[in-house]
Point group: C2
Chain length 338, copies 2
Amino acid sequence: MRKPTFAQEPIFAAVAVAVVLLLSGLIRPASAQEVLPSWNDTAAKTRIVEFVKATVTEGGDGYVAPYDRIAVFDNDGTLWSEQPIYFQFGFMLDRVKTLAPQHPEWKTEEPYKSILAGDPMGALKSGEKGMVDLAMKTHAGMTTDQFSKIVTDWFATAKHPKTGKPYDEMTFLPMRELLDYLRDNGFKTYIVSGGGVEFMRPMTEKMYGIPPEQVVGSTITTEYAIVGDVPVLRRLPKIDFVDDGKGKPSGINTFIGRKPIFVAGNSDGDYEMLRWVTAAKGPGFAMIVHHTDGAREVAYDRDSAIGKLDKALDEAKRRNWLVVDMKADWKKVFAFEN
Amino acid sequence: MRKPTFAQEPIFAAVAVAVVLLLSGLIRPASAQEVLPSWNDTAAKTRIVEFVKATVTEGGDGYVAPYDRIAVFDNDGTLWSEQPIYFQFGFMLDRVKTLAPQHPEWKTEEPYKSILAGDPMGALKSGEKGMVDLAMKTHAGMTTDQFSKIVTDWFATAKHPKTGKPYDEMTFLPMRELLDYLRDNGFKTYIVSGGGVEFMRPMTEKMYGIPPEQVVGSTITTEYAIVGDVPVLRRLPKIDFVDDGKGKPSGINTFIGRKPIFVAGNSDGDYEMLRWVTAAKGPGFAMIVHHTDGAREVAYDRDSAIGKLDKALDEAKRRNWLVVDMKADWKKVFAFEN
């Protein structure tokens, strides 16, 4: 048997591997970075840090093995803004304008007529039936690859109606830091959103460091078909699953198959998910992002049509869920702030 | 500023980390292990190894970034045996016997009457309607947590009807080695099976090193409910999604959200998945496990009621998919063989 070479000697191989990992940024020495720098030093930050520290402290009461460190985040209003309109609604409005030349009938049909007349709020009057039709007309009829490109192209050019910033800059910096912080401590981070899963997936890696397979969302039915000799998936105008409210625990169960130990949301649409996750045996942490900052973002809760936070806010007190006060607890809301 | 301590000095911290990783087996020095030891040194093994080597060789034509190294495996007949009956069918038969005292009507109703009379093949005569009813009666009506326990308990005691071995020993050793080999080379491994996702998930980590969130399968509808003050998910007697045939590409798209670069199957139920994965741009590898070994397992293909392999076998030649000949290419089929 030959004597092992330098590279085969385990300890030297280990050093080499470690140096490569360090250089590539896969391992970040915890002491080299401030934790959650955009969070003020308030009780909210302390509670999060204490939970994470307990989770990784072997032998402690709060210890959770890395395998079980699953964290789920709502998206609209929790990771990115949702006011004055859901981003995906903005996408639909722009799609209607793009597709209008192929649909002369839209000039007289609601909700398209109002949208084309520059009155998106008027479009809402066509109710759930109109909104479902709008969603299907703008989200179905193409292949999955084509839709992914349409979404990517839209994010590259569209601007937020209030700030004028590209939508992918409208994420909450403290929440992105929280995602990083959890991952640095061995958590696997997921999005669990009422939004369309294929509307989010092209962007989540870039925006949040979350790969497509860790995005749970609403789905439409797809159909396998051969075009020429090439297999494709066609998006049918048929809602498959709505990942909102009571649907969120089902979505987590179907896509992930086990219970997270950390959950973040911001509205009553997250209520059942918050309840379900915190009902698990063992450690569990729930937080609600409370939109209290009318200056830097938008202040809303119990009476808002979008992102209504009422029942979940009451329950937060009773169940000891952390309510994050954006105004008091966050140094910055968006990265682009001075 | 204080001088960094030993533990804070990056290179020493790196060594410590690397040693811990080595000790915990997370990093296996590639040179220390023979690759795919239960595979004979035939062309099949060579093709697999050459593909994987090309995938990890930076700068080469076949290089694929770790992020995109997704591999999907059918389960029945690809990772574990499927003859003479699907494991899940065996589970259903045992569930009927367990539940029979609560269902006196089953003594005269098919397919239950035949099952209770020890004639499971007779039960098949009740056709698809009977089989769906059987699946729903045995898989629904409980919470997800309860079902998980029922499955785990069944695997702990049930025996394979032909070998008498526990079902979890009926996995193909060369395929488990292939899963390990791919993961050692940065692949993320998934199951994409026609079987029920919640029938597989309690076992896949132990059997294959695949966590629940990397199992794609058929699903039934679940419903959020509060029992006492505790939220649960109830399994309803309603099929949600069938992850077989044309459903498999849709299942991959819904659960994973991007195209794998490696796919393994064994029957015509995998045909569309094989086509879809290999139609992606860039490198892609498809393989079929061909059941040619009547001595160590079961020999079957074109005429089999279970795991029929006909169209996909013809297409394999045309499309250069690797057909693995179990008899010729595998040294061992099961780990328990002498």
